[in-house]
Symmetry: C3
Subunit: 156 residues, 3 copies
Amino acid sequence: MEPKKMAIIATKGTLDWAYPPLILASTAAALGMEVQVFCTFYGLSLLRKDLSGIKISPLANPAMPMPVPMPVFVQMLPGMEAMATMMMKNKMKAKGVASLDELRSLCLEAEVKFIACQMTVDLFEFKPGDFIDGIEFGGATTFLDFASTADIQLYI
Amino acid sequence: MEPKKMAIIATKGTLDWAYPPLILASTAAALGMEVQVFCTFYGLSLLRKDLSGIKISPLANPAMPMPVPMPVFVQMLPGMEAMATMMMKNKMKAKGVASLDELRSLCLEAEVKFIACQMTVDLFEFKPGDFIDGIEFGGATTFLDFASTADIQLYI
Amino acid sequence: MEPKKMAIIATKGTLDWAYPPLILASTAAALGMEVQVFCTFYGLSLLRKDLSGIKISPLANPAMPMPVPMPVFVQMLPGMEAMATMMMKNKMKAKGVASLDELRSLCLEAEVKFIACQMTVDLFEFKPGDFIDGIEFGGATTFLDFASTADIQLYI
């Protein structure tokens, strides 16, 4: 039987939204599915060699659980983005959630194919050396060719 | 004939983004489709007993229609999130849009299956008692199993 | 052979998130696919006659590449939204990225069907005259009917 296929477009580059594509891709690959992740716009962040710059913002998300209620004008003070990022990372570590690096390695070992969107690479002036090895470069056609034969398509 | 199936991942917890999963799920169920909504990250808000804490933020969304144009530095003043939430709720009521509670009840009556993501329940330290009855708990595998046989998959 | 089909829900109205539905829809149509774009919530902006009001916000997106690092309390100063929008548009022009107007025209020429969500048209008090000609009006049922027979479904 042919394996099931999943096509993901990863468009976000914040700490919270970097997780879903990597969790879904690594899990699907572990279940034997063939997976492609097309990274475009801020989702190119997932392909950087160094993932430590990925941050979370408490702004504009009143649904984010905060240890202490914090008015918006405090959330925007200098250093709050760094603090929210550190708090979220610490909580994830304490709860045994894998890091983005670990999840990405699982994906690569399981032969998840990562594709960088050439148009947004050019637009944001990324250099090929910014990215990890083993990825491909492509465009909307690359994504659509695979997605139109896939069992699951998700725009994240 | 087997019914069509729809798999949704609900990841957001603001007033505007709580609507699409509940509208799509209740409509699909009314059309006879089999529907699962996997709630993860801020989407866990959809499963809380009390939905009254769900808010909207005017920040970072210049596309939000505002009755009065409002500069960003006003949007972030204390109380603006509460005001925007109240205004949106009043407008929805005036226009006859169902409340989140009503839509969720329609979903439950039509046997939409809600699944809470165990990983994010643990991460955000939700307690089982925070949630409505009749939901299930699961992980990415739970979602992928259903999604890979579904006719529609949406990441919201 | 029947053409492949793609169903998109476009829900966002900022400059960055207005691009993906129009790029994917125009590319898919050029590949011979049948495409429907259901515009709801802020995604109704894509159907306005005048697209020049579409803006980008640097707030709450620490993943946005900025020419100069800029603290959050600077991002929220009056005029920063307009400045970020102008910078992004200039960069796109310099890099040869098509404008939203050009991409939408390509879609219309290739017979991509645009559907405005009647419920959010009413909610946000849009007038039929605000929109381009040749679009249809519908609801969740309209979307689900097409999506459940489509090869690709994306919620953007």
